[in-house]
């Protein structure tokens, strides 16, 4: 149990909260809101939820993930060159690229919601959700050593 465990813990916790949060909103909040709330209140609640989640993402989640992620990579001795090598480097690179794509989708979701394009917003939200599951998949595929 070293400080590095704490860093890894934070990284994993952040990912769990973010992916879990998305799943909760999509699978629990959204269907219930559809069933229980009328059109107007649903809009209010959902946009509030979305705003709060976005705020948390930008304010807490992203900084924590980036900081801990970079730290872990440094600890592992990852260099730019090693990202291209098959194995750990390649998987990590793919994971980063996918993570960027997910962030882009999440951003697009926020933008589309603001512009009143609900269909695009929904597609982007689901893209982001599925993509973040992919990030988790790749994270678990990283060799442990």
């Amino acid at each position: 149990m070293t400080w590095w465990s704490v860093v890894r813990f934070l990284h994993v916790l952040g990912a769990a909260l973010w992916v879990g949060g998305q799943l909760t909103v999509s699978l629990v909040v959204l269907p219930l809101a559809r069933r229980l709330l009328d059109e107007q209140r649903r809009g209010q609640v959902l946009s509030a939820v979305g705003r709060r989640f976005g705020l948390l993402t930008v304010a807490v989640f992203l900084p924590v993930q980036l900081a801990t992620g970079v730290a872990i990579a440094w600890h592992k001795g990852v260099t730019w060159a090693s990202l291209a090598e098959p194995g750990y480097g390649r998987i990590l690179a793919a994971k980063l690229v996918l993570f960027c794509a997910v962030m882009a989708a999440a951003g697009a979701h926020g933008w589309a919601t603001g512009r009143g394009r609900p269909r695009l917003a929904r597609a982007m939200a689901v893209t982001s959700l599925v993509g973040s599951l992919g990030v988790v998949l790749l994270a678990t595929a990283l060799p442990a050593s």
């Binding site: 690179a93 793919a94 994971k95 599951l133």
Partner: protein, 1235 residues
């Protein structure tokens, strides 16, 4: 209840600990896993339920005792637990007696019978009998109790006495099995197993579940649980009956858990919503989520069964973990539902109501669920066709990744999509045209299901092996299609004579064609016929399926479909044209197929010409319709184009058959395949679906138009793309252009699949909408809206998955490749020969870094290719063709194989192994994984120690050493066939490819008198040159001993001028290999006045060289004369496992021939000297001589006999006294019995 919970948890933990090492669990949990689950948990539950039913305080003593016993067991007080549980069981019997006193009913009797088993178990247990003996009693307890309980619920339904008697008999059988098991455990378990199968069948047949499963909600859920449970009961019973609960971890485990997990737990799941309320006075409202644990449970049991039957520890463990997960999920669901049951009231169904509903009251039954509309099952069935089409696209895209890609592509499409479509539509059209009642839908669905199962079997069997699966699949296809034809014929018989009856004849003829085609396919899959025969079978198979099954069906359908698509009336001459066409086409096809099989080109041509004439006759009314109305829809254009392609193919096929011998037809037809498959078949399929789908989807005129418009979207482009693509695929154009053709064709197909799926998914909400409309609300738009609403989500899922997939691809590519730093250190060219279902050499060894060049020659009489795991591949090579592959510098082991369907499984594999690197490379694993026949053949130079004491495989039959007397007459006619593909067990548990005469090792024995004439017809059915050399004859070797090629024959006539035991063997060089691989046998010419003896045996001794015949390693051993073993009559130590018989005082004559090739024999019988020895034409010793002999010594290729009389009863080894050879297999036993 608490006790039951403790038992459940302890039992589950114990069970898990049994499966997974390292789970911390008290010993008592593990040891008492069975009793805890069966008595502690289930027994307590049952006792509690009965006590509630009794409604007397004293009744609760039974569950109390049981629960206390369970807790005691769990904490480790085993003796206390045993006593308490036994008492609980006795008490339960008392409860039943009390219940019986209240009301005599047969269920209670049955339950009493079950309950009696419990105290019996207890007593056995107290007496210290082992678990396997008690298991049968556990089973009696649970099976009878549950069966009786089902009877109680079902008894509202009127039961005839005979049915009741059936159940009673079955139950009695189970009980009797338990009683018998006390004395004879095996027989008892088998008996109980049979009883369980009968009980399962009875319950499956009489239980209301069979009806309520069509209901909805809780009753449906419960019925699913019950039916699935009965299925497992039957499986368990079958296993018990088959294995008799024999020891051995896996089968025993399977037999137990199919019953206790599959059956009993499924019952618990099904009844919990009914029983829990009665027990605990809490409601367990039904929710669909309850299906989750149910599915998990059955998946778990299935995985576990599979793991047990395949002896795969990991699968078994997975099944166990999954099962405990399922139980926990169910517990979780139950708790969650009982506590949150009030947030949404479920239409006031109390427990009592549920009982009534399950009991299926006769009066006032709830209204039956609305029958799905008639079109609906066609709709659903077509989803299968669309699914196969999509799979076809996938297979086409996957390409070389798959084994046998070409074959798969063709068969996924034709056997999957097209055959399913034909089955559905020809029946549908028959019904519609004849105006008869639809045949029973269940039977139709059964046929469809069987066909699809058979298709899957064929696809799996051929591409992955074993071939038996494929053969069974083919047989099933034939069976289904004959059944289909029978149904059509019956429909025609039922119908009034009408205008369209003639069409059905086409369908029936088509079905007959598939029956023939399927049969041929099965023969191909079973690899019956070799070389040219194989090619002819292949050609006949292709022609009869394409022109028969597909062609005839389509032609028949066009009579009605074509005018319908054109929206015009049928022309007047249709009926006559149809009659004439069929009379020409069907017999013509039969003649053509016969001609192809019989290798008669002109017969095939004549048949096909007749078929073509029939096809032209059909065209007449079609052209007539065309004159009346120009094609104006996508469907009509597609059909028209398809007909054109059909005629083109037919003409091309005529040319092919006219210009080539039958054996080459299949190869030439291959070029036409794209025309037929894509141009004709696919286009007809797409065209008809285009026309028919909107009609089938139904939903009123507006909906029809909408669907039609959707499906026809962009049809001119699709039509053009498809028909442009077809010739590009067929013509010999450069690869990029072919790729373009594929893109065009697949794009067009994909577009249709996408549109069709859209239309189909749109249709589903419509069913709901229709209900809404019926009840007066709603509008047709809402269906579309649901679809629209979920569109963004689906798009999101797709995009997300694509992104993830791309990332995974990026992450994994290059990960497993060796570092690309292998530098070329040299180069070498290796000749590789493909023949006789093998690749020679099977193993190529080269230093790391060698740039290998393979020159591949197909020396077989049928087509092969070679594909390496690194991606290099040869084109399909016709017999005699060659190709060259240049490989990258060698880094890792590379596998190679032939991609023709089934050939890899048959052993056409090779491996290139880098040497001088790692330990792994110096001990290469033989490619046994690919041979698929359980071959243990070791293909490398590693000296392998044979385990001669191991048992022979089941089904092994010893070569009969008994020598039969010479047949009468002075001229003997024999046919001897050389074969080099057989696999034979050459040592205990070791199967290996051998080369044989007449399929046996050694070959057939020829016996006669001095002066007899032998006329031997020698046929080469192998895949390489062979010859034959009879030492017993005197002839110039040039003619009769010459090597003949596969398929050739020669006559070898010799006169046996001299007596003796003679060798015959293959005369083709290198003879070491031909003899070492098994091509030898004996000719026995009796000396004049040979006395009659009581028994005569013949032992032909030969050497055994393990490994693929012809591989470098094996050839090396043969050259150095280092056999892996020695064999008497083709099996090392075979007669140790199947001793030769004799009786005291009998005179036994042992003939012996040493086949070699390199070593002779010193034949000796331990414990019994010889009194007569005859060697190489002369007696060395006669019975009346004073001396004796201990050994009959024979140099390679010598022969003789020795006689002896066994002095007393016992077991006498017969050995080659060259002890090294005896210990490596030249060893057998004489079992000598008392006279």
């Amino acid at each position: 209840m608490g006790g039951a919970a403790v038992a459940l948890v302890a039992g589950i933990v114990g069970g898990l600990a049994l499966l997974v090492d390292g789970i911390p669990a008290p010993d008592s949990f593990i040891e008492q896993h069975g009793p805890l689950m069966a008595l502690g948990f289930l027994g307590t539950l049952i006792a509690l339920e009965r006590a509630v039913a009794l409604r007397r305080p004293w009744g609760y003593t039974a569950p109390a005792f049981a629960a206390a016993g369970a807790v005691a067991l769990a904490v480790g007080a085993e003796q206390v637990g045993r006593v308490a549980l036994t008492v609980g069981g006795g008490w339960l019997v008392a409860i039943y007696l009390a219940l019986l006193g209240r009301r005599r009913s047969r269920e209670t009797f049955l339950q009493l019978g079950g309950a009696l088993a419990w105290p019996v178990v207890g007593v056995l247990w107290l007496a210290g009998r082992p678990v396997p003996e008690r298991v049968v009693w556990f089973a009696v307890f649970l099976v009878l109790t549950i069966a009786a309980e089902r009877l109680e619920l079902a008894h509202v339904v009127f039961l005839r006495p005979i049915a009741w008697a059936g159940l009673l008999a079955a139950a009695a059988l189970v009980g009797a099995g338990a009683v018998v098991s006390l004395l004879a455990p095996l027989a008892g378990a088998r008996m109980a197993g049979v009883g369980m199968v009968v009980v399962a069948g009875w319950l499956g047949f009489y239980d209301v579940a069979r009806r309520t499963v069509r209901g909805s909600g809780l009753s449906r859920y419960a019925a699913v649980c019950l039916l699935a449970g009965y299925g497992w009961l039957a499986v368990a019973g079958g296993l018990w009956a088959a294995t008799g609960l024999a020891s051995g971890r896996y089968l025993y485990d399977a037999a137990l858990h199919a019953l206790f997990l599959g059956f009993v737990m499924s019952m618990v799941f099904g009844h919990a919503p009914v029983i829990l309320p009665a027990l605990l006075r809490v409601r367990l409202p039904y929710r669909p989520v309850l299906y989750m644990p149910l599915v998990a449970l059955h998946a778990a049991v299935a995985v576990r069964m599979a793991g047990d039957l395949a002896a795969a520890e990991a699968a078994r463990t997975l099944g166990g973990v999954l099962a405990s997960l399922a139980l926990l999920m169910f517990a979780g669901c139950a708790i969650a539902l009982t506590h949150s049951g009030h947030d949404r009231e479920v239409s006031g169904v109390g427990p009592v109501d549920i009982r009534v509903e399950k009991g299926k009251p006769l009066l006032g039954a709830p209204p039956a669920p609305p029958q799905r509309p008639r079109a609906s099952w066609h709709l659903r069935a077509n989803a299968i066709v669309v699914g196969w089409l999509a799979l076809t696209v996938v297979v086409a895209l996957a390409g070389d990744v798959l084994p046998a890609p070409r074959w798969l592509l063709i068969h996924v499409f034709l056997l999957g999509a097209v055959s399913t479509a034909i089955l559905i539509w020809s029946e549908h059209f028959t019904v519609a045209l004849l105006r008869v009642r639809t045949p029973p839908q269940r039977a139709s669905l059964a046929r469809l299901g069987l066909l699809n199962a058979a298709t899957v079997a064929v696809l799996a069997g051929v591409s992955a092996g074993p071939w038996q699966v494929a053969a069974v699949g083919a047989a099933l296809v034939v069976g289904v299609v004959l059944w289909h034809a029978a149904v059509l014929v019956r429909l025609v018989r039922q119908a009034l004579p009408g205008r369209f009856g003639h069409v059905i004849g086409w369908y029936v003829a088509a079905a007959g064609a598939l029956a023939v085609g399927g049969l041929l396919g099965g023969l191909l899959a079973a690899r019956i016929g070799h070389g040219a025969v194989h090619e002819r079978l292949h050609a006949a198979h292709a022609v009869v399926n394409l022109f028969g099954w597909v062609g005839l069906t389509v032609l028949g359908t066009l009579f009605t479909l074509w005018p319908t698509v054109l929206r015009t009336r049928m022309s007047d001459g249709t009926r006559r044209a149809s009659r004439m066409g069929l009379r020409l086409a069907a017999p013509g096809l039969a003649v053509a197929v016969g001609g192809l099989l019989a290798d008669s080109r002109w017969m095939a041509l004549a048949g096909l010409v007749a078929y073509a004439a029939g096809g032209l006759a059909v065209l007449a009314p079609l052209a007539d319709a065309l004159r009346r109305r120009r094609p104006h829809t996508g469907a009509s254009w597609m059909l028209g184009a398809a007909i054109v392609w059909f005629e083109v193919t037919l003409a091309a096929n005529l040319v092919v058959i006219a210009t080539r011998p039958a054996a080459e037809v299949a190869a030439a037809l291959e070029l036409l395949l794209p025309l037929v498959l894509v141009g004709f078949v696919a286009q007809v399929l797409l065209g008809s679906l285009l026309h028919l789908l909107p009609a089938v989807l139904g939903g009123g005129p507006a909906r029809f138009k909408q669907n039609a418009a959707l499906l026809e979207r962009g049809w001119p482009v699709r039509l053009a793309a498809l028909n442009l693509g077809v010739p590009l695929l067929a013509l010999p154009v450069p690869p990029p252009v072919t790729l373009l053709g594929w893109a065009l064709v697949l794009g067009s197909a994909l577009a249709f699949v996408a549109l069709a799926v859209t239309a189909l998914t749109r249709a589903r909400p419509t069913a709901g909408v229709e209900e809404h409309e019926r009840s007066g609300s709603g509008g047709s738009a809402s269906g579309g809206r649901t679809w629209r609403r979920s569109l963004p989500a689906i798009a999101g899922v797709v995009v997300g998955c694509l992104l993830t997939a791309a990332a995974v691809v990026v992450a994994t590519t290059g990960g497993s490749r060796p570092s690309t730093t292998v530098t070329a250190t040299g180069s070498r060219t290796v000749e590789v020969t493909l023949s006789g279902m093998s690749i020679r050499p099977a193993v190529i060894e080269a230093p790391v870094g060698t740039a290998l060049t393979l020159r591949i020659t197909n020396a077989d009489a049928q087509r092969h290719d070679l594909r390496l795991a690194t991606g290099e591949r040869t084109p399909m090579l016709a017999p005699g063709q060659s190709a060259t592959l240049k490989l990258q510098p060698l880094g890792q082991s590379v596998d190679g194989w032939c991609t023709v369907a089934g050939h890899r499984a048959a052993g056409m594999t090779m491996r290139i192994i880098p040497t001088g690197t790692t330990a792994a490379a110096s001990q290469p694993q033989a490619s046994t994984g690919h041979t698929g026949h359980g071959t243990n053949a070791v293909q490398t130079g590693e000296p392998t120690r044979l385990d001669l004491a191991a048992p022979m495989s089941p089904g092994w039959k010893p070569y009969d050493a008994t020598l039969k007397p010479a047949p009468g007459g002075t001229e003997h006619h024999v046919e001897i066939r050389a074969d080099d593909t057989l696999l034979q067990e050459v040592a205990p548990g070791v199967r290996q490819r051998v080369w044989t005469f007449n399929g046996t090792l050694p070959g057939p024995v020829l016996r006669g008198k001095v002066g007899d004439v032998f006329v031997v017809t020698f046929v080469n059915s192998g895949s390489m040159g062979h010859g034959i050399d009879f030492h017993a004859g005197a002839t110039a070797p040039d003619g009769p001993m010459r090597t003949i090629q596969p398929g050739e024959r020669l006559t070898y006539r010799f006169k046996a001028a001299f007596a003796g035991a003679w060798l015959y063997h293959c005369s083709t060089m290198p003879m070491t290999q031909h003899i070492a691989n098994g091509m030898y046998g004996a000719v026995i010419i009796d000396p004049p006045d040979l006395p009659k003896v009581d028994r005569e045996y013949l032992l032909v001794q030969g050497e055994l060289y393990l490994g693929e015949p012809g591989a470098d390693a094996q050839v090396g051993k043969i050259r150095r004369g280092e056999p892996d073993g020695w064999m008497f009559n083709g099996t090392a130590a075979g007669y140790d496992h199947a001793a030769l018989q004799a009786k005291v005082g009998e005179r036994v004559r042992i003939w012996a021939v040493a086949a070699g090739p390199s070593s002779g024999t010193a034949l000796h019988v331990v414990g019994a000297p010889f009194d007569t020895v005859y060697k190489e034409g002369a007696y060395l010793l006669r019975a009346d001589d004073p001396g004796g002999a201990q050994v009959l010594d024979l140099a390679p290729a010598q022969g003789g006999f020795a006689e002896l009389v066994f002095p007393e009863a016992g077991t006498y080894p017969v050995v080659d006294h060259t002890m090294r050879q005896a210990e490596a297999g030249a060893h057998g036993l004489f079992k000598v019995g008392a006279p």
